[in-house]
Amino acid sequence: MSSEQLFVALLLSGLLTFGGLGSIPVLQDQLSGAHLPVNDVILNSIAVGYIAPGPNGLYLIAIGYFIDGVRGSLVATAASLVPPLLVFVLAALKARLFHLPPFQAGLRSLSLAVIGILLSSTATLAAHASTSLLTAALVVLGAIALLTRVPPALAMLIAAGVGLVLR
């Protein structure tokens, strides 16, 4: 996969979705033609992204690294910086657009679609990661940990510890 292709894939995944992990479904689709173990790359990147400081969306930098080393991480960083620039356009148009029913409805419909495809994609990732009874249990425990506000890095450490003991 060339740097240009990686940039376009990451840019598109950011432009069409909201929030940190909202980009997963579009990324799965965009990277599927690149002869990569897409789900493995994404899951490894999410793990790294949750251990690192900063926004969850920085898992994209880890994706860039896993695909093309430091150059890939720089490409991913550049691609991540572009979509949020639209906040200035939205800030300028807020007073004129945000009260219009079609604009609200378009945004609402898009939000529901992002959630719908994200639920479907993350279910696929969970199934992919559940390679044994142990890992299936850890998928469930990982979800519970995040929902109950256990620090993600601590949860990762515990999961790694369980793996070390039971290997």
């Binding site: 579009v26 969306g57 378009g106 679609a113």
Partner: protein, 189 residues
């Protein structure tokens, strides 16, 4: 204070957050809110307005918020300073962790621990989807929202192309607004 000095201050403050805000997006958001209130850059309402606006912006919403805060403090210099401050340490640590992860994953003894970490990460992703579902449903009518989510999930399952589904969702929303415009966003209420 000169704009240049303000920009240096923005860079330094966001650098500290980018290097220390472990715990995902919510930890980063809390740190940014504390910083804004402590420095007097934004009051609580202004922070909330910026938060809402960044949530409807494509891409990483915390970056959108940093852009808004930086511009509010000292214009475009603040945007650049805040972005560099947050991204330099967070990006460098992410790359270092990814490098370490790559090195460890080559060791057969690490296979089970890594499979366990990946499983936990998959659980995080599922939980994050559920949290997003909860937040989105909370701002609209329950049944209508769930029906919308289920319809788009089904469409994705059938079509298999997320870009097509997202594009169609936007068009449907604009074309038939009464299907979706059931409640105004928080800043309009």
């Amino acid at each position: 204070m000169s704009r240049r000095r303000e920009a240096v201050g923005v860079f330094t403050d966001f650098f500290v957050i980018g290097a220390t805000a472990f715990g995902g997006g919510s930890a980063t958001l809390v740190a940014i809110q504390r910083l804004c209130l402590k420095r007097g850059w934004l009051d609580k309402q202004e922070f909330l307005d910026a938060l809402v606006l960044s949530r409807v912006t494509p891409g990483i919403s915390i970056l959108a918020q940093v852009y808004l805060i930086g511009r509010h403090v000292c214009g475009w210099r603040g945007v650049v300073a805040g972005t560099l401050g947050l991204m330099l340490p967070a990006g460098a640590i992410t790359v270092a962790l990814a490098r370490g992860y790559t090195l460890i994953s080559g060791d057969p003894a690490a296979a089970t621990p890594i499979a366990c970490v990946i499983a936990a990460a998959a659980g995080f992703a599922v939980a994050m989807s559920l949290l997003l579902l909860r937040d989105t449903v909370a701002t609209g009518r329950l049944v209508r929202s769930l029906a919308g989510v289920a319809t788009y999930a089904l469409a994705y399952h059938v079509i298999g192309n997320p870009v097509a589904v997202l594009g169609s969702a936007l068009v449907v929303g604009f074309a038939v607004p009464r299907l979706f415009a059931d409640r105004l966003p928080p800043y309009e209420q």
